[in-house]
Subunit: 503 residues, 2 copies
Amino acid sequence: MKMNSLTYVLPWLLFSLLLLFTSVSASLHNIPRLGLLDKTIRRGPSDTKSTSSDSEDFKTFFYSQTIDHFNYKPQSYATFKQLYVINSKYWGGANSSAPIFVYLGAEAPLYNEMNAVGFLPDNAPRFNALLVYIEHRYYGVSIPFGSMEEALRNETTRGYFNSAQALADYAEVILYLKKKLSAKNSPVIVFGASYGGMLASWFRLKYPHIALGALASSAPILYFDDITPQNGYYSIVTKDFKEFSKSCYKTVRKSWTEIDKVASKPNGLSILSKKFRTCAPLNKSSELKNYLDTIYCIATQYNRPSNNYLPTVCGGIDEANEGADVLSRIFGGVVAFMGNMTCYDTNVYNDPTDQTNMGWSWQTCSEMVMPIGRGSNDTMFPAAPFVLKSFIDDCRSKYGVSPRPHWITTYYGGQDIKLVLHRFASNIIFANGLTDPYSSGGVLEDLSDSIVAVHTAKGSHCMDIGRAKPSDPDWLIKQRRVEVKIIERWIKQYHVDFLAFKQ
Amino acid sequence: MKMNSLTYVLPWLLFSLLLLFTSVSASLHNIPRLGLLDKTIRRGPSDTKSTSSDSEDFKTFFYSQTIDHFNYKPQSYATFKQLYVINSKYWGGANSSAPIFVYLGAEAPLYNEMNAVGFLPDNAPRFNALLVYIEHRYYGVSIPFGSMEEALRNETTRGYFNSAQALADYAEVILYLKKKLSAKNSPVIVFGASYGGMLASWFRLKYPHIALGALASSAPILYFDDITPQNGYYSIVTKDFKEFSKSCYKTVRKSWTEIDKVASKPNGLSILSKKFRTCAPLNKSSELKNYLDTIYCIATQYNRPSNNYLPTVCGGIDEANEGADVLSRIFGGVVAFMGNMTCYDTNVYNDPTDQTNMGWSWQTCSEMVMPIGRGSNDTMFPAAPFVLKSFIDDCRSKYGVSPRPHWITTYYGGQDIKLVLHRFASNIIFANGLTDPYSSGGVLEDLSDSIVAVHTAKGSHCMDIGRAKPSDPDWLIKQRRVEVKIIERWIKQYHVDFLAFKQ
């Protein structure tokens, strides 16, 4: 697979978390799923184009990975091929103990993600860093048991698909690589974004002997087990809308009952289908509502100075003709956001064959249970409380086992995180942008001198880890600079300690 | 099961590690095993008698434990009954956030161990601590799949028997208990001895959100993956002998070739059988050699001022009649150590139905691969290098899967431990006695201000965690006092932090 053929679009690469959860919480028993990337975006510059010089430097490898690290049955010893990619162009080499930057793949094919994490190649020359990208098990081409369909169809084969196993995979690949490269003394820094950011921070916590530090970009590690209020996510979407345009916010807020009102009429659904120019006739009003919900979430979560998603949507809503009714205004927002199209596919985000949709649906129904919901009137959305019992029932009927909603906090912690980590652990950056709805579940204050929160008021989801561009605003440049400085300090301190302790 | 019926003998409770490894490394393909406790000791005071008042305060419970924490197959959700025991006599209660002391069971039935860890009840009044003892999965009565025999016979059922699963068990039980007792704010300190000490330190590392600190008594966490030289263990046995009595050391050193010489004669084995008054005729000389090996190891590892094991053995060897030959001297040591018996059962330590023998044999053949061996002439023992390949072959043929000799260091670390933990983690005491052969694989220097090594020159295996006695030497009293002070500091600091961060 050639790197320079990978020209996916940034915002879509890192946000599967959002969409799936939005959908899960909004419509528990009829879960809409993420669409393929090129179906969801019609315009806007690509942030992820790799330069051809970059692409030539990537080398692809496969590691023969153990299927089950925590069991010693004969079948636990089965292996699958795990993809990892190396860029050694900038590396100072093992002799100088130059660092290794490892990107921990998340819930998407690695090739889709790696070009979006421009922070690594942007800073590799400064650090003389080796770049390593490792694909998450059960995504991309790193799928055991033949195919995603096969692996997920079977009650038994999908059991190995979880975060603890994924972290152990990363541990094995990194140790193997350090050995192969004779780079025992090269410090490793791990990077991850969104779910991958959670993995990065957890990896530093669980495997401090392998990773010296972690940059966790937009990692909502506190959105589990009711540490964060259910409505945290949608409160921020609402706040973003309200702050950008009060009238836009009001229109959205009003629209849901309007939709219900029309839907309840005879022929109501076909009136809505026509009004929203849907490609297929609507079967229920929730199809439309989930579609709109998703658009608003994307528009806030991935709003960038370079794409102006939120201004675009709200522009469409606010700038409709004087006297336009609420639903026409809402449709104006859709058109502005999606572009002027013959028709709008309300299922565009729900492709059931998309790997991220398939995989994340399983992950949320096993351990990644993030209770995202909304009460009545606490957001601009209709009430949709997260009801654990219904969620569990739904997952059980889908997958034959129940989710374990308390496991993430049992294994990784989360409650009283400052109390716990103030004197334990070190070297983690929790990066957030406060307009990102997922920042509600992020770590927003320093936990200690070296477990720090770096956030920006205007930033959205995973902005810092993206590729630097001339048009980047000052606050983003500054955020990245702070992160680089911190990582430099870790590495410098490592070398000081190394000299002191290796004598 | 009544507590006051438990009057097992201390040294035997905590040393299964030793014997099994001694045996494994000494005779790879003919592994002698630990005997039942009352078969191995003929004299000496019991350190483990619980007072009847203690016993009445113990309450027994069972937790419905998940069989596989790291998988989401339907069969992973099976449960087994895990024993835990509570003593709330001294507890200050949840309202005062009084601490919880948790003893992490190791490779033996819990009831056998808990009365030996006198450190907990001895110090509970001072801390107003709740005492909790949790049995390790697959030992005692906490065995899935019916029985130890059943669980271990099957290639599939024994796969769940490993340390990562055991730590997750402890995590679940502790969280469950804190909830049940409404003791969310009570700090938890975990305690463990020998293998259990490893578990305690690893638990603090992996679950800092659950345990505030750990006392790891005689935990050879560095005896993996060649971090510690192979002969570390036997070097200390040798040193102990040599320092106690040069002539005793010399006699032992000479004895092995003497045994071989006699054994190679016609009727050699029956001469040896007679000379050593064995209960059954020897089938090979290694039976005798392993038996003696084990006695010397026990004599050093569990030498105490109260039992004088080493002086006893060497007394028997040195004080033989003037002009006695080497083997008579050695037999004198056996008689002195074991007591004057009609005959000596050279298989006394190898009861194949003993749970510790059965369980630890599996644990060493899966993940707890400790490369203990000896070169030629680097100890007072004959050469017996640890050969990984033979070890793997042997395990494979026994259990149908290969051990994973690098897994412990992959999951828990160990290499460059000071470099790694100097700025990561906190609140672990590594306690050791330097006459303990296992101290060779222990942490003997402070890793940071709060990850500290507390060792004594004269101490043997797990002495500090035993019950305090009027006859205890000053250095032992002092060691325990240091440990108590450190734990007090952790708890005090916890309360300060709690007030600061909960505002």
